[in-house]
């Protein structure tokens, strides 16, 4: 009997990095060559984006309410209760909104993409597509990654707006402020350097979520438990990437704008 070949852990890790780099370039090659699957892209925007609306909306609303409730005692103690809308606005738009929505999307989208493609791999649908002469990268991967890249920034914008609205209701639990005055304060504090970097980083969040979900699904093993592993691994890796991208984005933003 032949001796068992044991591949060292570092070699497997390097192979995985190589696979991911290959997958990354394969995505761009397929993006710019061959036909673009518009119908699949629109379907994925609906499945991935529209169907996440409720979750993002509820979470953002609660986030706005809770942030005001948490901030208020300290702000009142410092005699700065009137600064509550501005404080919420800056913290929500610059940092908390994009990261929380990114994490929620990582949980919902990366897991669903990882599980769907992993299940297609297990049931030989990916192989069937490939042997039929169709290109699974072009049909399955490109539309999904583009859909998450497009939808995560939109969901973040919407989440920010709902979060700020939640903040307005929360402020009015203890104090009284008109809708117009509240949003004048919210908008007046924000400028280009708050808004643009936050939007740009959510584009990278979306790309990372789609890429990780697709990669994990495509490279899952052939067994039913692999579907769960692919989904779980996609969520963990995508969430980690959200924080890594955020840390890098904050550094770049502080160098460029502050």
């Amino acid at each position: 009997m032949a001796d068992e070949i044991i591949i060292p852990g570092y070699k497997r890790w390097l192979e995985s990095i190589g696979d991911q780099v290959g997958f990354f370039f394969s995505f761009f090659r397929n993006l710019f060559t061959g036909g673009f699957e518009w119908s699949e892209f629109v379907r994925q925007c609906y499945e991935i984006g529209y169907r996440s609306l409720l979750l993002v909306g509820i979470t953002s609303f609660i986030m706005g309410v809770v942030l005001i409730l948490q901030l208020r005692p300290t702000m009142v103690a410092f005699g700065a209760a009137s600064m509550l809308p501005r404080t919420l606005s800056v913290s929500l738009v610059r940092e908390i909104g994009p990261v929380i929505v990114g994490i929620i999307c990582a949980g919902k989208m990366a897991s669903s993409i990882g599980a769907e493609l992993g299940s297609m791999k297990v049931t030989e649908q990916l192989d069937a597509m490939e042997v039929s002469g169709a290109n699974p990268m072009q049909y399955l991967v490109v539309p999904r990654i583009l859909a998450t890249t497009f939808m995560v920034p939109l969901l973040t914008l919407l989440g920010d707006a709902i979060g700020l609205f939640g903040g307005f209701l929360s402020v009015n639990i203890r104090d009284s402020i008109s809708f117009k005055l509240y949003f004048t304060k919210v908008i007046s504090i924000l400028d280009f350097s708050d808004f643009l970097p936050a939007l740009v980083k959510t584009i990278f969040f979306g790309f990372a979520i789609g890429f990780v979900g697709c990669y994990k699904g495509f490279h899952s093993n052939k067994g039913t438990e692999s579907v769960g592993i692919a989904a779980n691994s996609a969520v963990v890796t995508a969430s980690l990437w959200i924080f890594v991208i955020d840390a890098i984005a904050v550094q770049i933003t502080s160098i460029l704008f502050y």
Partner: protein, 262 residues
């Protein structure tokens, strides 16, 4: 291992050569880590011929046909399809080759997010790039009628029985008029009546479309109905070859063990 009724594959392939070889495999070896799945395999498939490959699970039957369509790369040896070496093909050549080969997976491998109609349309619109909807509808209707699934056109794969899923999978491969059909355990998991229907369908497809086929199976009834020639595979090698009847009468222990189970 061999008996008078059974020749070594290489000898038999030469001896039975009557038409043009559409698939020629020579010295094919494939290993996954320390597991040597295929060891020096030789196989020829002639035009219009149905070859059945019998063997226990894990003996490398499916790996052989996956090497033919380029899903797996051989470690050693040559796999030529229509005279062209598969491992030397670039992406476009491989795509063109795959259009000429139909591959029926064990599960049918229907795209489960699409209806039966959309499954049929997929290779037409994405691979053959047919734009004319009337032409697409005509082909879909015709192929579904040929496998007896015209009524299931709007159903989702999850609403189909195992046999219907296999027939739908078969229809999807047939819709592009392949010249070679590769069947990976087409009757596994089906009841005897449905298995027989699928086996007879394979024969009728071969007669109608003049396809050449390799059929991987454990099902002796399928082998009896569908085979022109049977190869028996054991531990990554072909151990016997002949017609179904010749092998059935074999006194060889390994060969007899397959036929005595039925």
């Amino acid at each position: 291992m061999t008996t008078t009724a059974i020749d070594k594959p290489e000898k038999k392939a030469t001896a039975t050569a009557s038409g043009e070889a559409v698939i020629a495999i020579k010295g094919l070896s494939k290993a996954f880590g320390s597991n040597h799945v295929l060891k020096n395999i030789n196989l020829e498939l002639r035009k219009g011929e149905n070859v059945v490959v019998l063997g226990r699970s894990g003996t490398g039957k499916s790996v052989t046909i996956q090497c033919i369509v380029g899903l797996l790369k051989p470690d050693e040896g040559s796999v030529k399809v229509f005279g062209e070496e598969v491992s030397d093909m670039d992406e476009k050549e491989l795509k063109d080759l795959r259009i000429r080969i139909g591959f029926l997976f064990q599960s049918g491998a229907l795209y489960d997010s699409m209806t039966v109609r959309e499954n049929m349309e997929f290779p037409l619109t994405r691979v053959l790039k047919i734009k004319d909807q009337a032409e697409i509808d005509k082909r879909v209707q015709s192929v579904l009628e040929s496998v007896g699934l015209a009524d299931a056109i709007e159903k989702m794969p999850s609403d189909l029985s195992g046999g219907m899923r296999k027939r739908a999978g078969l229809a999807r491969t047939l819709i592009v008029d392949p010249e070679i059909m590769l069947y990976d355990e087409p009757t596994t998991g089906l009841d005897p009546i449905t298995s027989r229907e699928i086996s007879e369908l394979i024969i009728s497809i071969q007669k109608k479309n003049k396809t050449s086929s390799i059929i991987i199976t454990h099902d002796m009834e399928c082998a009896r109905i569908a085979s022109d020639r049977v190869l028996i595979m054991d531990d990554g090698e072909y151990v016997a070859e002949g017609t179904f009847d010749a092998l059935h009468q074999s006194k060889d222990k390994t060969v007899a063990s397959y036929f005595n189970q039925s």
